[in-house]
Symmetry: C2
Subunit: 324 residues, 2 copies
């Protein structure tokens, strides 16, 4: 990065003059103006906004960062809305990061973004990532993820899986299938364990299990389509009288398959994103908005006072019985 000083030296003028040129060129001769402009262009000069705001006294508001791992899904949008509303009454700014494929790209710069705090959504940080934040005094809080010894607000996925099982059982289902994804994260493990556990309590198990390959940033529709195909496969292969879909969009595909096959059996999704209400899908509601809201409030506390006590909060999902 070139500075005003280098330009000044090359142009043979003082830094004050360079500054004047760069700020509109008042009180500068045409000749020096052109010379300075040319050199700064040649050096590809970019003014340092940090230095500028220090002298101007134009400080930006303190900022809370939010890190998501995948492109914006309705579930995350709902969390974001909650965070947004939680932060709104305060003076905090909201900065959004999305790791997408390459997470180091994001995590490497976060410690240097001068954040007052950061919310990490649905993903585990590596020890190195945590160390970086701690070293720079940036408090963080997990959302939708639990880790021993760290601040977190998480959803009770075990319980959620249990609720799904209870619902299917209440509908007299006994030959139950599961349509999920092939990623092994905390949310999946817990939800699956809770579901299976409840079935086993009742002397049952999962008759058939289909997993969808998840790729980062795949559009919504693709999963729905995949699930549609798997559901058809499922129903052709086995005798099934109830299906638990790992998330609502999978259930949407299932709904289409069921309709096409003229089959009627209880199914349940997970999340309760916007379309589910309209499709009358029975599902396990994750209070995403509430999660975001609580997250915003908690990270503000952490930003204000790093007393060091670890904060944990568990939010329980809720069964939404509709007509599937």
């Amino acid at each position: 990065m070139s500075t005003i000083k280098e330009i000044a030296k090359l142009a043979g003028v003082g830094v004050g003059t360079v500054s004047r040129v760069l700020n509109g060129g008042q009180n500068v001769s045409q000749e020096t103006l052109e010379k300075v402009l040319e050199i700064s262009r040649k050096l590809n000069y970019k003014p340092n906004k940090t230095a500028r705001s220090l002298v101007k006294g134009h400080y930006s508001q303190p900022t809370i960062g939010v890190v998501f791992t995948v492109a914006i899904h309705p579930f995350f949008q709902e969390i974001l809305k909650g965070i947004y509303h939680g932060l709104k009454p305060s003076h905090y700014n909201l900065l959004i990061f999305n790791t997408g494929g390459d997470r180091s790209d994001v995590f490497n710069r976060i410690p240097y973004e001068n954040l007052a705090g950061v919310l990490i959504v649905s993903t585990k940080m590596t020890p190195e990532e945590k160390r970086q934040l701690k070293m720079n005094g940036v408090p963080f809080l997990y959302l939708d993820y639990f880790e021993q010894g760290e601040n977190s607000i998480y959803l009770d996925n075990f319980r959620g899986g249990g609720l799904a099982a209870e619902y299917l059982l209440s509908q007299q289902a006994a030959k139950i299938a599961f349509v999920g994804e092939n990623t092994r994260n905390q949310q999946f493990e817990e939800r699956y364990a809770g579901f299976l556990g409840k079935l086993e309590e009742n002397g049952l198990g999962i008759v058939c299990r289909k997993l969808i390959d998840i790729k980062v940033d795949m559009p919504f529709d693709v999963y729905e389509q995949e699930s549609y195909l798997l559901t058809k496969e499922l129903l052709q292969e086995k005798e099934i009288d109830g299906i638990f879909y790992y998330c609502d969009e999978f259930a949407y595909g299932g709904l289409t398959a069921l309709r096409e096959l003229g089959r009627q059996l209880p199914i349940i999704g997970y999340d309760d994103i916007l379309p589910s209400k309209y499709l009358e899908l029975t599902t396990v509601r994750q209070p995403a908005y509430q999660l975001g809201l609580a997250g915003a409030e908690t990270i503000m506390e952490l930003a204000a006072d790093q007393s060091g006590e670890v904060l944990n909060q568990c939010i329980r999902p809720e069964l939404m019985i509709r007509s599937t």
Copy 2:
């Protein structure tokens, strides 16, 4: 705002010592540590991150701000997703503002946030707001709003309204109603004019018009419910054979009313937000994602080179014929 210097003076120590205390307290006697800490607490000292990053050389990435006026609606979320993806390949950060009720609150601080550029979504800026940005050299771009002489990417609402009319006409509707909102913004005026214009071309007009009171940050469901009630009213008052809803959520309420009344007539919404596909709602699709994407790319250009040429782009809506 108190500074390290004041603390130093009050504590009777040098600024370097204060700095050491505030950064973990290495190499400081217990006594001075406590003294400094107490004073800084008393003054409610907050370190100036700008100064800190200047000396540390920890600069945050350049940032693009986005200003929305209302709490996050699916339409805006889709725009945001587009902006997000457009910015992703670059190094730009994304900062979100929502004016909510009090816009001056947001606009007053935006010029001082050291933004590389700002996207203003669906609202007109006052001359003073524009002046503030221009004075601080912050380029801006309207999204979903057109203003002569300013950079903007806008949606062709006139054309969209026309498409809605054409659809209803194609369904042989002749006694047409309109359910809208009682705000008078550019989007409304254009859309309405386009709709009415097309009807008049065919020797028709609007038989009945109902407007819903919009309040900032009202939840989604409320509008749906309002529209449900108005639709019932409408159908009881007049003979109607086609309805244009100003936006999809109004149409959802209409759909419910129609179903309850056992009526079958062509209706069309506007936006094509996520649930519309599932409800099989015919609607005018606003390419929100595309708008956001183009917005991100354009604001980056503006941030890189303020040549001064005004950029304008018009995005056309698209008729999505489904089963209503």
